[in-house]
Amino acid sequence: MEQKRFTKATWQIMEQLLEVDSLEEALAGSLEIIVNTLDSEAGAIWLLDRKTERLSPVFHMGPADISGISVENGLGVEGLVTKTGKSVMVTDASSDPRIDGTVFDDGGLPVKTMICVPLNNLRDVIGCVQVINKKDGSAFDEDELQLCERMAALAAITIEEKGFSVDLEEEKEILMSLRNVTREYPSGDGVTKVLRGINLDIYKNEFVVILGESGCGKSTMINIAGGMDELTDGTLTIEGKDFSHPSDDDLTRYRRDYVGFIFQAYNLMPNLTALENVEFIAELVKDPMPADQAIAAVGLSARADNYPSQMSGGQQQRVSIARAIVKRPRLIMADEPTAALDYATSIEVLSVIENIVRTQGTTVMMVTHNPEIAKMADRVVKVRSGKVASIRKNMHPLRAEELVW
């Protein structure tokens, strides 16, 4: 029975790797299959950057955010496996001398058991695949190790064939960090847990897309990140400062000076023209961008005197973006900004957002249902049942106009 399941998983992995166009998606899908088949808490695919001799987790699943981490080749379990090309199976991390704390531990997931297998291509080791903690608390066995090795071999061959390379950027500065963040709401006699322990780092000048099913907690997560909601438990740090339980004034200041918002429903002031909507917010902050410049940045100078009701959805959303950027925010929260727009208009809006990230150094967190949009993100965070299910780093993000759906 077990063998049959593993065989099936192997076929699924092969299917992913051979048939999916995007290598990133194929590798992420394979990791997901192996983590699910082994009923594990987390997993990661690490790739080695030959120039720097450092390993970084290009895909990882589970509650711990390790996406911003890189380790020196040879250090830690990941480094050891990549350096030696030999698999490691840890049955009790607490007593295993090879384990002296892992990146998962640092990311909020205590490691108890582990399988780490090398990604061997024909010439050398290009990284490793890690699977962490079986959910039932039992130890991994040899069969499971073999499955992982098969998956790693297939993945390595595919990477070899498709020419996947890792170009590790400079280590990014963390803008915001969520650790074990939970959010509960009273519901009847009990409580509803919407977030069940989010661990996520948001870096400066990155475009993060949050994907997830309805009700998975992604909006709650960005509400907390945007200072519109408070967490129940856990910690939130912003540029290193604890912001877990701020006062209302602190939250207001944060939203005023730090965050710009782009809403699905635009939420423009109906009695103000496009330009005035932007000016209205510009008057609020100390060093705003000139409102007409913000309007120009979204390509709406010609419609600056129009009221929201006199503009199309896309135009309104662009006003909404201009309103968000006029504050020169460090972070822009975009909640389904294209959900109500047609394809062409969506591409227009996404281009504007892309341009902001590229030219103004602003971090954008965007919630969307559309997985296609995730292709233009630097990182894609999948949320499931109130937890981060996976974080994928796009090695080669697409441009907005390249997206098709």
Partner: protein
């Protein structure tokens, strides 16, 4: 249906507001309407029960039993009875008071025995409760044992004496005095058998003072209805028709009898003159004899000198001479006295003849008698019922109507705003294929059910709370039970119908417009009202501030409705306080700006010597004649006539030109009339009207000036003008003295006045502001109602403001959330909301003060009575109260509603 109920649940603040506003409006309107009707109905039923007269007929030359028989036969007259009445003074243990003894009628205007029973035979009497209470008398007390009587005017005396003292058999309530606030002299009731009307002079014999007449009318007819007045007037017209003949008969009889008496007198005087002439002749003859006798006595005295003194003959002659001389002197003195008396009597004869001639001329030229008839207006209590009822109606038709109008406006605004707010939803439901009627039904259910629920609750509150409250207030002042509760079906149904039409109309108006718009357009937000582009120029105000103005501009309908609603509520409060201050201000102004004396001393005749004696005691005073009078200037009205030196009266009762404020000087060019009288009669300086006073026939008088006055209707004229216009020969008798006490005690003054032997006919010495208490009491109920209406107005202001602010908040909630999300602080968001509220509230208050003052002036004028001019001055205090209460409610309501900004759920913005 479920959707409609969900809609109600979502908009429950507005729904409840509509219920409350409708409740307050309907309660104030119907409560007062019901009370007004119930007061008249109760009075009408009480009068019906006592078979109260419909017409009171008085003749200036008394009525005879023959007159009564003729009156009974007049078409429309159902019954008529004679009444004897006379003013008396009742005293007991040093306390005295005026009373009217009055004969008990058999069928008409029957009093009710509150204790004991009505008098049935000679020697029995009953008295009104107020008199019994005042004198501390009770059933069983007897005259001569405990009570004394003095006649103030001694017509038709009651037959009782020390041997047959009357016994008080009952304490009564008389329908003549069904209101305790009219200040009328109470009754002492005796059986008609006790009145001595037979053993009288020809002008009083078999006569009576007035006839009480009941007309033929349907049973239970409303005595305050126009139909009743018409029926009474018809009978009065018939009586008027027979009056000239009856008056002629009476006048001929009096003339004939008077001439007979005069002829007797002439005959007596003539006989007396003849006797005197004869006597004079005799006395003249006697004078001759007496002269001769005197001469003889002188001769005897001369003869005596020839005799020897001391001789027996001498002594004897001397003694005889002395005796004769003494006798002579005695007779001479008697004769001279008689002669002087006779000569004087004869010398006065031409004067007596002249007087007889004058009397005869007087009889021949005497003013013919006159019948004076009064309907309900002749009875102060009936007038008071009508006045109270009309005051209530005035309140209802003005103040309460404002409630209703403002309530209707706010209900309309709420419904129309609620429908407007659901523009997108209406678009969606239309797009989903709902019929217009289905969409409309949902809003009709909201608007009509809330307004009707409020109206029905209002009807119940009016009937079971406000109406009993008002009637309980009046109950204290009326002898009949005012609690004859009434739910007027006509008005009630009209109110229900108006509510139905108004609420359904508001929904249809608001929804119909939207339902005409295509669904897709409804689902788009409306385009704000256009405005000129700024052309890039910089504005003095920040966009944040300008946005408030832009919001107001783009949502002008809501802003205008808000301003008008706030104005309406503020106006209601201003009206309430203006009315309250108008009533209290009238009293205050009258007793501070017009009346400048402390006491009013009434005496039958006021003498200059007595005034000097009183003044010497340390007070200041002015004497004048003050008598009741009637004037005819378009209508028949009662007033009082003040005759004296205008300048002197003016020092104690300020007579100042109402326009210039200048005091009037003595004038023989006409009378001075109060401003209220001038207004209701359309009189101006120079115009003329008829006046009757002191038994004189109508006299034409001219208006010389109009003075400011608040209470009463005094017509003032100088003595010169009196002799010119009323009676050139007879000066009016001063009977009143206005006294400034200068710190002296009133009771001590009374003691001082009564200590004089020269004082007679003392009637009363009362504090000047005694009538102030009567006025205070009569206005206390209306004051209480106004106070309640002010409270209701304030409550309505609270509900209206709560509703409007809530609507405003709900409308702006998303906008506020966006602001909060974008970093506006709670304070900034509240300030954003509050600025518009402050602006609309200030504009509303300003408009409300203007509107309230204008309407209040009309209400004040409508509530004025012929003898009461309310304080019409602009009441800054009312403005302040209106503004402050509205502001307080605005602050409270905004505090309550805008607290929600703190708890805005920012995540709702997604």
């Amino acid at each position: 249906m479920k959707d409609a109920l969900r809609n109600i649940s979502r908009q429950k603040v507005s729904y409840l507001s509509i219920i409350l506003i409708a409740l307050l409006g309907v309660t104030s309107f119907l409560g007062i309407d019901y009370a007004s009707g119930a007061l008249k109905k109760s009075a009408s039923e009480a009068y019906e029960e006592s078979n109260f007269r419909d017409i009171e007929l008085i003749s200036t030359h008394y009525l005879t039993m023959d007159d009564l028989e003729v009156i009974r036969k007049v078409e429309g007259v159902a019954d008529a009875e004679p009444v004897w009445q006379s003013l008396i003074e009742v005293y007991r243990d040093g306390v005295s008071t005026k009373a009217n003894y009055i004969s008990l009628t058999d069928r008409i205007s029957r009093p009710e025995a509150l204790e004991g029973r009505l008098p049935e035979k000679d020697g029995e009497a009953a008295m009104e409760k107020s008199l019994a209470d005042q004198m501390g008398l009770t059933v069983g007390d007897t005259y001569y044992d405990t009570v004394g009587l003095e006649y103030a005017n001694n017509f038709f005396p009651v037959r009782f004496d020390e041997e047959s003292p009357f016994v008080i058999t009952g304490i009564i309530s008389h329908p003549d005095h069904s209101n305790a606030n009219t200040g009328e002299v109470p009754y002492l009731l005796v059986p008609s058998e006790s009145i001595d009307y037979e053993d009288q002079s020809f002008d009083l014999k078999d006569c009576f003072v007035r006839a009480e007449i009941v007309i033929e009318k349907p049973e239970g007819m409303d005595r305050f209805s126009p139909e009743y007045e018409k029926a009474v007037q018809k009978v009065m017209d018939s009586l008027e028709e027979i009056s000239s003949e009856r008056i002629r008969i009476r006048d001929d009889f009096i003339r004939e009898k008077s001439l007979e008496t005069l002829a007797d007198t002439r005959r007596y005087i003539e006989e007396d003159r003849a006797e005197k002439e004869e006597r004079k002749t005799e006395l003249e003859k006697e004078a001759v004899l007496l002269a001769e006798e005197e001469k003889a006595l002188e001769e005897r005295e001369e003869a005596l000198s020839g005799m020897e003194e001391g001789s027996e003959e001498y002594e004897k002659s001397l003694a005889e001479l002395k005796a004769d001389r003494k006798d002579f002197k005695k007779r001479k003195k008697s004769h001279d006295g008689d002669l002087e008396y006779v000569e004087e009597s004869l010398a006065y004869y031409p004067e007596s003849v002249r007087q007889m001639d004058d009397t005869e001329r007087g009889i021949m030229e005497a003013e013919p008698g006159r019948w004076i008839m009064y309907g309900q207006s002749g009875n102060a209590s009936c007038v008071q019922v009508r006045t109270d009822s009309e005051n209530l109606l005035s309140l209802k038709n003005t103040f309460s109507l404002m409630f209703v109008l403002i309530g209707a406006l706010v209900i309309y605004a709420t419904i129309s705003k609620m429908v407007d707010e659901q523009r997108t939803l209406i678009g969606t439901t239309k797009a989903l294929g709902f019929f217009r009627r289905e969409v409309l039904a949902k809003y009709l259910l909201f608007g009509v059910s809330s307004a009707m629920a409020g109206t029905i609750l209002g009807i119940l509150t009016a009937r079971f709370a406000l109406e009993p409250f008002i009637l309980r207030g009046y109950d204290v002042y009326y002898t009949f039970d005012t609690g004859g509760a009434l739910l007027r079906p006509g008005t009630t149904l009209a109110v229900l119908l108006v509510t139905l039409i108004l609420s359904a109309g508001a929904v249809c108006l608001a929804a119909a417009r939207l339902l005409q718009i295509p669904a897709v357009q409804l689902m788009q937000p409306p385009v704000p009202a256009g405005r000129k582009k700024s052309g890039g120029k910089r504005h003095a105000l920040s966009l944040y501030s300008r946005l408030i103005l832009l919001n107001m501009r783009s949502d002008l309908k809501r802003v205008l409705v808000t301003i008008v609603s706030i104005a309406g509520c503020c106006a209601l409060i201003v009206i309430g306080f203006t009315l309250k201050f108008a009533v209290s201000g009238a009293i205050d102004r009258h007793y501070s700006q017009v009346v400048d004396f402390d006491a009013r001393f009434r005496n039958s005749i006021m003498l200059e010597e007595e005034k000097e004696r009183i003044d010497r005691w340390g007070v200041e005073s002015v004497m004048l004649s003050e008598t009741p009078c009637f004037y005819y200037a378009g209508s028949f009205q009662a007033a009082s006539l003040l005759v004296g030196s205008i300048e002197e009266i003016g020092e104690f009762y300020h007579l100042r030109d109402w326009e210039t404020g200048e005091p009037f000087a003595d004038t023989d060019e006409g009378v001075l009339i109060p401003r209220r009288m001038a207004e209701i009669s359309g009189l101006v300086p120079g115009s003329e009207f008829d006046l009757t006073a002191g038994g004189y026939d109508r006299k034409r008088v001219r208006v010389a000036g109009v003075f400011e006055n608040y209470i009463g209707a005094p017509i003032v004229m100088s003595r010169e003008y009196y002799s010119k216009a009323i009676d050139p020969e007879l000066e009016p008798t001063d009977n009143v003295m206005y006294i400034r006490l200068n710190g002296k005690d009133l009771a001590e003054l009374e003691e001082y006045i009564k200590s004089s032997d020269d004082i007679w006919g003392f009637e009363s010495l009362t504090s000047a502001d005694e009538d102030r208490h009567i006025f205070d009491a009569s206005t206390s109920v209306i004051n209480a109602i106004v106070a309640l209406l002010i409270f209701m107005a304030a409550l309505m202001a609270g509900v209206v403001l709560m509703n409007l602010t809530n609507i405003y908040y709900l409308q702006k909630k998303r906008e506020l959330t966006i602001m909060r999300v974008n970093g506006f602080t709670v304070r900034e968001v509240i300030a954003y909301m509050t600025r518009e509220t402050v602006l609309t509230t200030i504009l509303g208050i300003l408009l409300g003060i203007g509107e309230g003052s204008a309407v209040a002036y009309r209400i004040v004028r409508a509530m004025e009575q012929p003898v009461i001019q309310l304080d019409r001055s602009v009441s800054c205090a009312a403005w302040i109260m209106g503004a402050v209460i509205t502001l307080v409610f605005t602050v409270l309501v905004n505090w309550a509603v805008l607290r929600k900004v703190r708890n805005l759920k920012l995540t709702d913005v997604f």
